[in-house]
Symmetry: C2
Subunit: 229 residues, 2 copies
DNA sequence: ATTAAACATTGTTGTAAATCAACTTTTTTT
DNA sequence: AAAAAAAGTTGATTTACAACAATGTTTAAT
């Protein structure tokens, strides 16, 4: 991680609500001791079990949010694309992170001192509601994930995941910046079965694969496979 | 559900932080339109997919919090004993419940209008921090559950669950106010396997069972089984 | 008190998916 | 450019667990 002291918030193309809350409460950006950090691919942005010290906001790049399980087996809960609060689920007074986040490509993250955020969301009604809203949405997603992981079988989970990625990229054709192993970790499937199932779906012309370039060819069928389980 | 208009907050033995926040901000309990409801065993307290209209606080009894999955298969995330915020994970600006809660025994629940709570947690620093803290704790629990359900096998999950219940009841010996099926739903195990495994653990003298009366006889071993997976 | 319904138990079977193993291809490092 | 490491692929084997079946037991309803 490479720190940048220079405050780039004023140049930010995708300013977070924290910034507008700052200005609204008549504070300067300097006062909030905001700084930016550059993370390279594979760098850990925040680590399960470590103390939460800052609110993190993904400005550029992308990242995976995952829980570290037994014998190095992880489960990726969702991916993050800017603008996104990284530490969201853990920054409401939880002392330690309940999950980890790692950069999938070179990324930029904005760090805001937690104390400032706490003060802010007491003063700023809007910020509070906004954060809580995002928070609740994450929880709903996770609930859905619990069901999916436990009650769908791998074909359904793979299909669901492909739909998720297609939505995230807002296109039926997208570049997968995940390894097959990581793709599997999104659906709690072994690497081998992930490859197998992807090839199978390709053979059936439901999707097209060329390396990490994926195209959903038959979305209705994919949705059906996902829904059936 | 049987409503009680009479405001019993002043008699409450286990008052919630909402009440103290009310008083601190100079409001009367009447103003908050608080009412109590009595739920009988098996009554649904809040229902997945329905709109969130009140903050719910469990005052008496106990309940199970679960996500409703595919073809009537549920997963119980945790049990609630007073004092506990029931709707916690869903009342931060999420319009609908992401889960359901059902009474395990005759229970009393306090209803507080959501609008009031929102106003309150803007005014009351303490309430906000307190709710968020509880919230974060729930999230951490759920993360743990995801790992456990996916990466431990049934013996480990049963053991973990027995430890959880033992902790919850603060005793190695406790009455299970769940059916075997529900016990299984806590660990995503079929009813049959739940019975089988419980009997097995009893045969090995790790636990003692007499109907729904359960006693953990060898906690260290049970912990080991849970940790191994 | 009698019947019905829900609950609990045990053995057996089928199968989804992890694991193992061997191999190829791609990417990164020096 | 060569070597090493990481990523991707495929088939064979094993296994954990759900589903089914059959039967006993307790609880609730009339």
């Amino acid at each position: 991680m490479k720190l940048t002291k220079k405050n780039t918030c004023s140049l930010c193309t995708d300013p977070c609500e924290i910034q507008s809350a700052l200005l609204k409460t008549g504070r300067s950006i300097d006062e909030a001791k905001i700084f930016h950090a550059h993370f390279r691919k594979h760098d850990v942005i925040c680590k399960q079990g470590k103390e939460v010290s800052h609110a993190l906001f993904l400005v550029k790049g992308s990242a995976k949010l995952y829980v570290e399980g037994l014998n190095n087996r992880n489960i990726i809960l969702y991916l993050l694309k800017p603008p996104a609060y990284i530490g969201l689920l853990s920054f409401f007074e939880t002392p330690i992170y309940a999950y980890s986040v790692t950069a999938l490509e070179d990324s930029e993250v904005c760090f805001i001192e937690l104390d400032i955020v706490k003060k802010l969301y007491i003063e700023s009604h809007d910020l509070l509601l906004c954060l809580n809203k995002a928070f609740g949405k994450s929880v709903a997603n996770i609930m859905n994930k619990i069901i999916s992981l436990n009650q769908k079988q791998i074909r359904g989970r793979i299909a669901e995941n492909l739909i998720y990625l297609s939505d995230l990229n807002q296109s039926h054709k997208f570049y997968l910046n995940l390894t097959r192993k990581e793709f599997g970790e999104m659906a709690a499937i072994s690497e081998e079965n992930t490859v197998r199932l992807l090839s199978e779906l390709a053979r059936e012309n439901i999707i097209g694969i060329k390396g990490r370039e994926i195209e959903v060819l038959d979305m209705p069928l994919l949705k059906k496979i996902s829904d059936v389980g």
